[in-house]
Each structure stands twice: as structure tokens, then as C-alpha cells.
């Protein structure tokens, strides 16, 4: 049971959940969480490939650490913009932010 395909399957599941979450969630924070899910799916993938296929053991781990760091920075920026948006629109619902179109 502990083989590469199971991990890949879990990662793919997580990735599709993330994508579905981005479409379905109406609030921006929800979308942010969904994106985090997608990033984690990718890191699982890296670790799984490293564990089963790649000869050099540490590459997958380093990738995951970097992904976590960058995801944190991204979350910080996203939240600051969402706060600015909230100050103006009084809501973080994505449907309110439709001024630019066409």
C-alpha cells in the first residue's frame, strides 16, 4: 500500500480539491486556502518522487521547505491586499469586485 501511486493519487486528489475550491468559494480567504491546498499537493508529489525514484534523497525535502516558505510570503501579501479590499468594499465577497470588465 505504501507505494508511489498511492501518494501520487492523494496528491492529485488534493490538487483537484484545491482547483474546485478556487472556483466554488465565494470568499477570498476561501480561495487563498484552496491555493494553499494546491501547493501542498505539489510538495507531496515532490517528496513522493524523491522517496521512490530520485537517487539523491534530499532534493524533494528541500523543495517542500522552499514551497512552504514561499507559500507563507504569498499568504502575507494576499491577506494585506484583501484587508485593503475589505476597507473599500466592506466585504471580501469576490462578486463585489467586478468594476473592471470588457
Amino acid at each position: 500500500m505504501n507505494s508511489l501511486t498511492t501518494y501520487l493519487f492523494i496528491a492529485a486528489l488534493l490538487f483537484s480539491l484545491g482547483i474546485f475550491g478556487v472556483f466554488q468559494r465565494r470568499s477570498l480567504i476561501g480561495m487563498l486556502i484552496a491555493i494553499e491546498l494546491m501547493l501542498n499537493a505539489a510538495s507531496i508529489n515532490f517528496m513522493a518522487f524523491n522517496r521512490f525514484l530520485a537517487p539523491d534523497p534530499i532534493v524533494g525535502q528541500i523543495y517542500t521547505l522552499f514551497i512552504m516558505g514561499i507559500a507563507a510570503a504569498e499568504a502575507a501579501i494576499a491577506l494585506s491586499i484583501i484587508v485593503a479590499l475589505f476597507r473599500r468594499l466592506r466585504s471580501i465577497n469576490i462578486e463585489r469586485a467586478q468594476e473592471l470588465r470588457g
Binding site: 491555493i35 501547493l39 508529489n45 523543495y63 484583501i82 479590499l85 473599500r88 469586485a97
Partner: protein
């Protein structure tokens, strides 16, 4: 000792960042001082980049490669950065206290792109790409109190984050298939294994991340809103410098495959035609100048893709040439937009009316830039298009070239609308004469001569581009 010399342009950018960070710490905001410091440093940056054009070598355990290919792009990036700084004489689209942050983030973005250009390891590519995107995400909402800039910011961030997540997923597959993260090894392994679905899907997902940067068809949704929402100077930077970097990295990624995968070429052809046609058609109905330039940038992404997808040395050389041509023409257009919209507001095409009387030099610059974008001969734009089509024709893509030429004719329609506004339309209320300062006149003159000279006599620039392309394929 010898190694860090290879890294000078990046180190210099880092230094600039630190200086701007220091300025941001200072209590009293003084925009004049910030502008002069920025101008000085940026010009020195260009000199450094030019000086280091001949460097060769690899750093950081083969993860960072410095060769003519990367150095040419670094020069372009430094030049783009310097020109955008020149446009910020009266940066009233952003509050005075944010000016140092504005320059800081511009520098970090240029630094990130320089890293991106010469990184040859998947992780470094990812980190550099993210750094440049994040600094742009911050720059977009910096605009002085309009409100739509925040909306543009959040849209830019969401689309960017999603596509980078997708790219990462793709990278993991590439890593899974080739067991290595160094581009050099991938180039040897990938062609043999390209037929397996995992590899192709992986490569495709990776390309999504970069297509987002270049605003190619499916990933272009952010471009119109961000161009319109962001401050004029920020849009100028996004439209020119980030495009150049995107072209560089896509070329590196596409060269991974080595040009024998029929599927990839078909995808690239469809995407290029789609983005050209969509860009040109929607641009026809646009009323806002920056939005029009956004859609024109989408269509130009399609033209550059033609150069890249022919996957030959001449193809890559023409793509490099086209990237530079596009950089210069776009900056010239934005120069006019910025000078006409003094208060940093969004410029409507109708507001261009009577420009030939208000300031003849700006009107002439606009006309030349616009005809360059449309691909009319005496300008560099035509030579770029000519080279790109010649490369595509060598590979036998005749229908693609004909469709591209028809798109060029369609694009001429909305470009002529801009010229018509500038030259023909009379403004309903008589605007005052535009006072154009001497340095701006010099800058316009320089840009115009650059466009016409390299359009009429492209020999030297083409030799540089061909040398750079040769370096790319030797890696």
C-alpha cells in the same frame, strides 16, 4: 574571487534595493530626491549590465548559468528599468510617502527577473519567478486612492497564485519523470521520454506558469484589468520588462524539448493563433488607451510565440529581436500616455484629440510607435515581424504566417484609430499646449531614433541576437 564578478549585475540591483529601503526609512518624504537617486542608480545599473555582457560561467553548483543569452536579457531588463524610472519625473499616480517603496519593489522585481533569466535549475526558476510576481502584486495596489487598483491587485494575485501552483505541480511531474532538477540534464533525458503522457502534461503545466507571465491566451485574463487598474508607470514596467523576462524563460523551457515533439508545436501554434486573434479583435472595441495596449500586448505575445515555436536558432534569434523591439515601442507608447495624462489618471483614446497641435513631437513619437506596433516598415516593429515570419516560414508553417499577417492588418485598424485621434480629431474643449521638458524631448528623440535606425538597419542587433540564440542551444 573570480566567481562573484559573474554575479555583479544582480549584486548591484541588491545594492539599489538596500539604498531604496534606507530611503523608505527616512521620515520626511521628498519625491525629487528619490527620483534623482533612482535615476542615478538606474543609469549606473545599465552601465554595469553592459559591462558584464561578455561574462561566461556557472554559479551555485551549476544552478545559475551566466552566458551571452542571459547577459543580453539582463541588459534589456536594466534598460527597461532605467527607461521606466525616466518616466517617473512627476510620479503623481502614487502618494509621495510611497515613492521609495515603489522604487524598492521595482528594483526587487528587476533583480528577480535577472535571476530568472540565468537560472538553470527548476527550484531557482521557481523562486525567481515568485519573487518577481510578488513584487508586482504589491506594486499594482500602490496607486493613489482610486479603488479599482486594489481590485486589479487581487485579481492579479489570484490568477498569478493559481498559475504558479499549477506550474509547481507540473515541475513535480518533470522532476518525477527525469529524476533531476538541473535543466542541463533534463535537456538530455527529456527528448527520449517525451512521449509518455506524464512528461508532456508536466511540461505543459510548467509552461502555464510562464504563459501567465507573458499573458498568452488562456492566461491573459489579468492583463486588461491590471493594465487599467495599476499606476501608469507600473503598467509601463509590467508591459515591457516582465514580458522580456517571460520570453527568455519560455525559450529556455521550450528548448528543453529540442524541437521534435509534434504535440508541443501544435499546442504552441494553437495558443499563438488564439492569443493573436483574441488580442486583435477585442482591442478594436476598446475605449481606454491602457486597456487597448493590454490587448495589443496579448496579440504581440502571440507573434513572439511564433518565433519561439519554430524552435530553430533563427527562430530564437528573431524572438529575442522581437522582444527588444516590443520593449522599445511599448515604452515609447507609455511615454506618451504618461506625458498626456499628467495627473496619473486613466487616459481615454478620445483624450488624445488635438495632440498634434498640443505637442507635435509627442504626436510624431506616438505615430511612429503605433505604426511600429502595427508592423509598418521603416520601424523596428516591421523588422521584428519580418524575422519572426521568416523563421516560421523556414519550418514550413505557411498558414500560420498568413493568419499572422491578416491579424497584423486587423491590428492596423485600431492602431490607425489611435493615430486618427491624435492627428484628426479636434478636442471639444481647447486643451492647453503640453509643456514638454528638455530631458523628455531628448528621451523621445532617443526612442524614435532607436526605433527607426534599428528598423532600417537591423544588422548589428540581429548579429547579437543570433549569437545569444547560439549560446542558448549549446547549453
Amino acid at each position: 574571487m573570480k566567481l562573484w564578478i559573474l554575479f555583479i549585475p544582480e549584486l548591484y540591483c541588491l545594492l539599489m534595493g538596500v539604498v531604496f529601503f534606507g530611503l523608505a526609512m527616512v521620515a520626511r518624504p521628498n519625491p525629487r530626491r528619490d527620483y534623482f537617486v533612482a535615476l542615478l542608480l538606474a543609469s549606473a545599473g545599465v552601465v554595469v549590465a553592459l559591462a558584464s555582457i561578455k561574462l561566461e560561467g556557472t554559479l551555485f553548483f551549476e544552478a545559475y548559468r551566466v552566458d551571452l543569452f542571459s547577459q543580453v536579457f539582463k541588459v534589456m531588463l536594466a534598460m527597461g528599468f532605467f527607461l521606466v524610472i525616466c518616466f517617473c519625473t512627476e510620479l503623481n499616480g502614487i502618494e509621495e510617502r510611497h515613492h521609495p517603496e515603489f522604487y524598492l519593489f521595482l528594483t526587487t522585481c528587476t533583480l528577480a527577473m535577472m535571476l530568472l533569466v540565468s537560472s538553470v535549475e527548476l527550484l531557482t526558476i521557481y523562486v525567481a519567478l515568485e519573487l518577481s510576481s510578488y513584487s508586482l502584486y504589491i506594486l499594482v495596489p500602490l496607486r493613489r486612492g482610486h479603488g479599482i487598483d486594489v481590485e486589479a491587485g487581487i485579481k492579479y494575485l489570484m490568477v498569478g497564485a493559481t498559475s504558479s501552483a499549477v506550474m509547481l505541480f507540473g515541475l513535480s511531474f518533470i522532476f518525477g519523470v527525469t529524476h533531476t532538477t538541473y535543466v542541463v540534464d533534463i535537456i538530455n533525458v527529456l527528448p527520449s521520454v517525451i512521449s509518455s503522457p506524464a512528461a508532456i502534461v508536466g511540461l505543459l503545466l510548467v509552461l502555464c506558469g510562464f504563459f501567465f507571465k507573458l499573458a498568452v491566451f488562456p492566461f491573459h485574463f489579468w492583463a486588461p484589468d491590471v493594465y487599467q487598474g495599476a499606476a501608469n508607470q507600473v503598467t509601463a514596467y509590467i508591459a515591457s520588462a516582465s514580458k522580456v523576462a517571460a520570453v527568455a524563460i519560455i525559450m529556455r523551457m521550450v528548448s528543453l524539448v529540442g524541437g521534435d515533439s509534434k504535440y508541443l508545436v501544435h499546442v504552441l501554434v494553437t495558443l499563438s493563433i488564439a492569443s493573436m486573434t483574441l488580442g486583435n479583435l477585442v482591442a478594436i472595441v476598446q475605449k481606454d488607451m491602457k486597456r487597448l495596449l493590454a490587448y495589443s500586448s496579448i496579440s504581440h505575445a502571440g507573434y513572439v510565440l511564433i518565433g519561439i515555436l519554430s524552435m530553430s536558432q533563427t527562430g530564437y534569434a528573431s524572438a529575442i529581436f522581437y522582444a527588444l523591439a516590443y520593449l522599445v515601442m511599448n515604452l515609447c507608447c507609455f511615454l506618451v500616455v504618461i506625458k498626456v495624462a499628467q495627473d496619473g489618471s486613466d487616459l481615454k483614446i478620445a483624450q488624445l484629440a488635438g495632440l498634434h497641435r498640443r505637442s507635435p513631437i509627442l504626436a510624431m513619437a506616438l505615430m511612429l510607435a503605433v505604426f511600429g506596433l502595427a508592423g509598418i516598415p521603416p520601424t523596428i516593429g516591421f523588422t521584428g515581424k519580418f524575422l519572426v515570419f521568416a523563421a516560421a516560414m523556414e519550418k514550413g508553417y505557411i498558414t500560420l504566417v498568413i493568419i499572422a499577417m491578416i491579424n497584423a492588418t486587423i491590428s492596423l485598424y485600431y492602431y490607425i484609430l489611435v493615430v486618427k485621434a491624435a492627428y484628426l480629431m479636434e478636442p471639444d474643449v481647447e486643451q492647453p499646449r503640453l509643456a514638454v521638458s528638455i530631458p523628455t524631448k531628448l528621451l523621445t528623440g532617443a526612442l524614435v531614433t532607436l526605433m527607426v535606425v534599428f528598423g532600417v538597419f537591423p544588422h548589428y542587433l540581429l548579429e547579437v541576437a543570433r549569437a545569444a540564440a547560439r549560446m542558448l542551444l549549446q547549453v
